[in-house]
Amino acid sequence: MLFPPLESPREPLRVVITGAGVVTPLGLGWHANAEGFRRGRSSVRPVTLFEVARQRVKTAAEVDLPEALPRSNLSPRQAGRLDRAGKLLLLAAHEAWRQAGWEPSEQLPVVLGTTGGGMSLGQDYYRQALQDPFRQRGQPRRIVHYQAQRQGLDLCDDFGFRGPVTIIANACASGANAIGHAWELLRRGGAERALAGGYDALCQLIFAGFDSLQALSPTLCRPFDTDRDGLSLGEGAAVLTLETLPYASRRGAEILGEIIGYGTANDTHHLTQPQPDGDAALAAMTAACATARVTPDQVDYLNAHGTGTPLNDHAEALAINRWAGASTHRLRVSSTKACIGHLLGAAGAVETVVCLMALREQWLPPETTLTTADPICRFEVLRVPVEARVEVTLTNSFGFGGANAALLLRRWA
């Protein structure tokens, strides 16, 4: 039963990460991405996936998909119907699943965040409906497969389990909310393990949308820079295998890290603009720390939402200053969107994996595109690669519409 839950544990259970899969424009898998993030390599380049001649901005961060997907339980027909977003998701899920050494079980919750699902198929559906109103060939498949739940079900089919599948579409906070939602499910005893993450693929409709808002940078994505002028769009996916600590211990799993806190808040200021002082961001960070019983001075690294837009970075910087208080000047912050662009529904999940990399490998990712940090930042914005002792990290995700989320991770020693 989804409700009421089984008898809840007296104390919330600890939730650990035993597998992490990641696909970004930096590459496929942990190692390629760790190497890229560690150096702060930028992967923004001219768009090749769709026509951009009439767009104001003509660059984004594209993933180079492999020729073939990993060996899978999907039939050739199913595999042939996967769209770009579905492929990104499965690539990330396979890496996480392999790393965790999981076996399928009948009920295994899947919680995914996305903003577009299979939007490229939705575009194709509409284009054909408009340009060839009586032609129906291919349309039923496009209708079914553009829906986000279909990618979740493909994931279930691939690994041989039945979900349930929950899709959270909280814009750019979707991935973080999905991981947070799964974390809450596990810690109160609703399941012993869950797959959680986020995914989104570049598509023309969303690209044109951000371009129409003049939110895309015509130069370089430079979060927290005084001369920042917008974001770059990217694509990718990240999937985590989450388990309760007792479950992971029982099966002798290798633990990569622990999620210790999650906070959310809703910003009602404006559909596309944050409240200027970052009140909701502050509330989300504070709530995450409260659940983890961690104080800001214990946080070694903050992976900022840091889109590179003037308004977001201003509000987030103010929120971080207020949240960190006296320890602000010691806090190290960067936004890895400088490397891979904004991955929308995948952003929060990928940035959680970046935090996990920092905790596992004891380095902090820089923003090599940063020239002069905005003086409003009272914290250190990392611009060069740093090796550091990292015990606790926080990652922020803020979405269109006001969904704000923060996740706290701790090193597993």
């Binding site: 039963m1 989804l2 409700f3 009421p4 839950p5 104001r56 399928p104 903003t115 939705g122 575009q123 559906y125 509409y126 409906a129 408009l130 109103p133 009586f134 349309q139 039923p140 209708i143 079914v144 829906q147 739940q149 279909r150 279930c156 089919d157 041989g160 389990f161 039945r162 979900g163 349930p164 599948v165 929950t166 899709i167 959270i168 579409a169 909280n170 939602h181 809450e184 499910l185 109160r188 609703g190 023309q204 409709l205 044109a208 949308g209 371009d211 129409s212 808002l213 959310t264 808040a265 809703n266 910003d267 009602t268 559909l271 596309t272 909701a280 269109f400 519409g401 006001g402 969904a403």
Partner: protein, 347 residues
């Protein structure tokens, strides 16, 4: 552990604005009239049961956030306001942390279609006013702004079953104290793109739109009321599971049939498309209600109306227990049960 009670319901449907319109239409049991829905490029229109214009125009539509939004948002806000009722003041005063869950399948499809149309014509002139409203969580954002809630807010996307998933998420938020109260909204809007998509799968179905909302509060069972007794697992159509198999598993989690309990089905009473669901409930001995026979196919709003109608009947003490069965179009079978708990003593 405290239990979860339904303290209010709200609805906007082709029958009109408000639960009373929905109730009257379901009591009459006559399919509501459909209107032609022009389809560009074709002479032959689609048909739809759209929400009528509200008469008089409600005051809340003057809110700045609602001036340029998609109709789905108007429906969602209206249903939420009706469900929450007098508790709105407590939310706006900051005394009640209201969680918001908006569940949808196609989202703000009117604006998505218009924006895409402009982009196909010339991306350089596509309107920046339209794009933000295409985002799935735009309605949830507007609902939160209109209600003045800064507590947790999620948009869940899925097939018709996602509304019941949303109820479970909301109930668990309340148990986990993420919110003091929670409004769960299922919404959709009519568009020729969706009507055409529906027609490809079910030629008898008539597309419709609107929203339904259920307002949940934790409570002491001694106080009585309409209780959310349970929500089954979401049995996905994955890993070889058929519709029949998913429905059987869903049913196995619900109590045995009772002649006094009312069943609210997502299937219509005739037609090939609902056959699996009707087949799963052939042994049901109590009354049954097929809301889509009257209202049409509004996807997630349809499953919300099923729950609203069930809870409305319980709140009015017309029956003492209700089961809601949802066989979604692409994702899952899921069920819910609501019961009227008698007041036993002063809590």
């Amino acid at each position: 552990m405290s239990r979860i009670f339904v303290r209010g319901v709200g609805a906007v449907s082709p029958a009109g604005w408000g639960v009373s319109s929905l109730r009257s239409a379901l009591e009459r049991r006559h399919p509501l009239p459909a209107q032609p829905l022009p389809r560009p490029g074709r002479v032959q229109p689609h048909w739809a049961r759209a929400v009528p214009q509200p008469q008089p125009r409600p005051d809340f539509l003057r809110h700045a956030r609602l001036r340029r939004c998609s109709p789905i948002t108007h429906y969602a806000v209206a249903a939420a306001l009706e469900a929450i009722g007098d508790d709105l003041a407590s939310v706006q005063e900051g005394c009640l942390r209201l969680g918001i869950l908006v569940c949808t399948m196609a989202g703000c499809v009117n604006y998505s279609r218009r924006f895409w149309e402009e982009t196909l014509r010339d991306p350089a002139t596509a309107s920046p006013v339209l794009f933000p409203e295409t985002v799935f969580n735009a309605p949830a954002s507007h609902v939160a702004a209109c209600l003045g809630s800064t507590a947790a807010s999620h948009t869940l996307v899925g097939d018709e079953g996602v509304f019941l998933q949303g109820l479970a998420v909301g109930a668990n938020w309340l148990l986990g104290r993420r919110a003091d109260a929670c409004v769960v909204i299922g919404a959709g809007e009519v568009d020729w793109v969706v009507a055409e998509a529906l027609h490809l799968f079910d030629r008898q179905a008539i597309h419709s739109d609107g929203a339904g909302a259920v307002y949940l509060l934790p409570g002491d069972p001694r106080a009585g009321g309409v209780e959310l007794a349970g929500i089954t697992d979401a049995h996905s159509l994955a890993a070889g599971q058929t519709r029949g198999g998913a429905l059987r598993r869903m049913r196995s989690e619900l109590p045995a049939p009772s002649p006094t309990e009312v069943l609210f089905l997502s299937a219509t009473t005739a037609g090939r498309y609902g056959a699996a669901e009707r087949g799963a409930w052939t042994d049901w001995t109590g009354p049954r209600v097929a809301t889509k026979d009257v209202l049409g196919e509004a996807f997630v709003a349809s499953s919300a109306w099923q729950c609203v109608a069930a809870c409305d009947g319980l709140l009015r003490r017309e029956f003492t227990a209700a089961t809601v069965s949802v066989m979604g179009s692409t994702q899952q079978a899921i069920g819910a049960r609501f019961v009227l708990s008698p007041r036993t003593s002063t809590p």
